[in-house]
Assembly symmetry: C2
Homo-oligomer: 234 residues x 2
DNA sequence: ATGGCTATATATAACTG
DNA sequence: TCAGTTATATATAGCCA
C-alpha cells in the first residue's frame, strides 16, 4: 500500500509475491502482538508459507471456481406445501451441522488436553510455553481426574470397613491442600481387587505430603488412567 | 496509531481498550485476508475476545502454574514385568488420542464444508472470499454429491427399462462436460418412487445444457440432499 | 456501546544497491 | 534474494453524535 494502490488480487509475479508475503506476514504478526499486548487477549496467527506442504490435492483454480460458480448460481427453491422449503431446509441442515461441529470441537479440545497431559507425564513436553488457556484446560482436566481418584477412594474406603489388615487406602486429613493424594504400598496394592486396575505410580515430589499412620512406601495413583482400557496397569 | 503514538502496553481504560480491540481485530483480519488473497497462502488467525467465554473458571495464573508444575515434576515409572510401563503406556495413550483427534479433524473439515455448501445454496454466503483450500474442499464435496446423483440415476435408468411413457430420467450425452445434470419435469417427478425423495430444484443457469428429446421443464436434482433424513423433499 | 470523522502513525509497493 | 529508502496507501486514536 504505497507508491501505488494494489488491487486485491493474486500477485502473478513470483518474486514480487514472495517479497510481499514476507513483508506482510511480518507486519501482520507485529500487529497481532500489539493487539494481544494492548488488549491483553489470547491470540494466535497461523500463516503457512507457500513452501510448506500445501495440499495441492485438486484441479486447477479455474476448474474449481467454475464448478463452484455454478453452485453459487443455483436459485432459491420455490415453495411447496406440506414440505419444508429449501431455504428453511438448508437453515435446518446448517444448524444440525453446526451442532455436530461444536460437539466435535469440544471433544477435540479435550483430546488435545489429554494428549498434552500424557506428554507432560512422560516428560516429552514442558509446560513452559503453554499459554493461559491451555494451562487452564489442563488444570481443569487434572482437577477432574483428581476428583475421580477421590471418589474412587471414597468408595473403596466404604467397602473396606471390615478391615482385614490389608487395607491400602487411607484418607489424609492433616493438610489443607484440597488435593491430597491417596497412598498405598506397592505390595499391598497388588493384592487388591480389580477396582485398582488404575495405575499406581511412584512419586518423589517433595511438595506432596504422604500422610498415614504406618510407614508406607510412597506410591500414588496416577490421575491419568481412570477411564482407559485394561489391561494397562502397573 | 493516530493523533497520538500509543505506547505498547496494556490499556487500563476499559472502554478504550474494548474499542481498540474491536478496531484492531477487524483491521488484523482484513490484512490477513489480503495476505491470503495476494499471496494465495493458507492462513488463519484466532483471537479470543475478552468477552467470549474465557474459562476464567479457575484460580490465578500462579495457582494454575503451580498445579501444573507439580504435574510436570512427576517422574517416569519404574518398570514392571507383565505390564506396560508408564512411559510406554503414555506413548500408547498419546497415539490413541492423536488418532481420535485426527479423525475428528477430518470430520470437522467435512462438516465445515457441508455448512458452507448449504449456506451457498441458501444464498447466505458468497463464494467470493473463500480461499483456495475451502474452494477445493467444497469442490470435492460437490463432485462427490454429483457422482452420487449419477449413480442414483444410473440405477433408476436400469430399473426403468420397461418404459411406460412416464419415465423422467434421461441421460444427456451431447456435451463433453463431465457433470451433466439429469432432468425431469416436476409433474412426472412427483409420480416417481421414493428413491426420488432427493430434492428437485428449478434451475436457471444458462451454462447448463438441458438435453432431452422432448420439451421438458428444466428441473434438476439438488446435489445437497442425498444423504439426509426424509421427509424433506419438494 | 456504535458508527463516523480526521489527523497522524504505520505499513508497505516500488525502487536502489 | 535481500536490506534500506521513499512516497503513498492504510490503519487507527481521540472525538463527536
Amino acid at each position: 500500500m504505497a507508491r501505488k494502490k494494489v488491487k486485491l488480487a493474486w500477485i502473478p509475479n513470483d518474486s514480487a509475491r514472495r517479497a510481499t508475503f514476507r513483508k506482510r506476514r511480518k507486519g501482520l504478526m507485529k500487529k497481532l502482538e500489539e493487539l494481544s499486548i494492548l488488549c491483553d487477549v489470547e491470540a494466535c496467527g497461523i500463516i503457512y508459507g507457500p513452501d510448506e506442504p500445501q495440499p495441492e490435492v485438486w484441479p486447477s483454480k479455474a476448474g474449481t471456481r467454475r464448478v463452484l460458480e455454478r453452485f453459487k448460481s443455483m436459485p432459491v427453491m420455490e415453495q411447496s406445501k406440506k414440505m419444508m422449503d429449501q431455504e428453511g431446509f438448508t437453515r435446518h441442515q446448517v444448524m444440525k451441522l453446526q451442532d455436530q461441529l461444536r460437539k466435535h470441537e469440544r471433544e477435540n479440545q479435550e483430546l488435545e488436553t489429554a494428549i498434552v497431559m500424557h506428554k507432560c507425564l512422560s516428560g516429552e513436553q514442558s509446560l513452559e510455553y503453554m499459554n493461559m488457556e491451555e494451562l487452564t484446560n489442563l488444570a481443569i482436566m487434572v482437577e477432574a481426574k483428581l476428583k475421580a481418584v477421590h471418589d474412587r477412594i471414597e468408595l473403596i474406603s466404604v467397602q473396606m470397613t471390615s478391615n482385614d489388615g490389608a487395607i491400602v487406602v487411607q484418607q489424609n486429613n492433616n493438610n489443607n491442600n484440597n488435593h491430597q493424594w491417596e497412598l498405598a504400598t506397592m505390595e499391598t496394592m497388588q493384592k487388591q481387587q480389580t477396582w485398582f486396575t488404575d495405575v499406581i505410580n511412584p512419586v518423589n515430589d517433595p511438595n506432596v505430603y504422604y500422610g498415614g499412620e504406618e510407614a508406607m512406601q510412597p506410591y500414588m495413583m496416577s490421575i491419568t488412567n481412570l477411564n482407559i482400557d485394561p489391561p494397562y496397569w502397573v
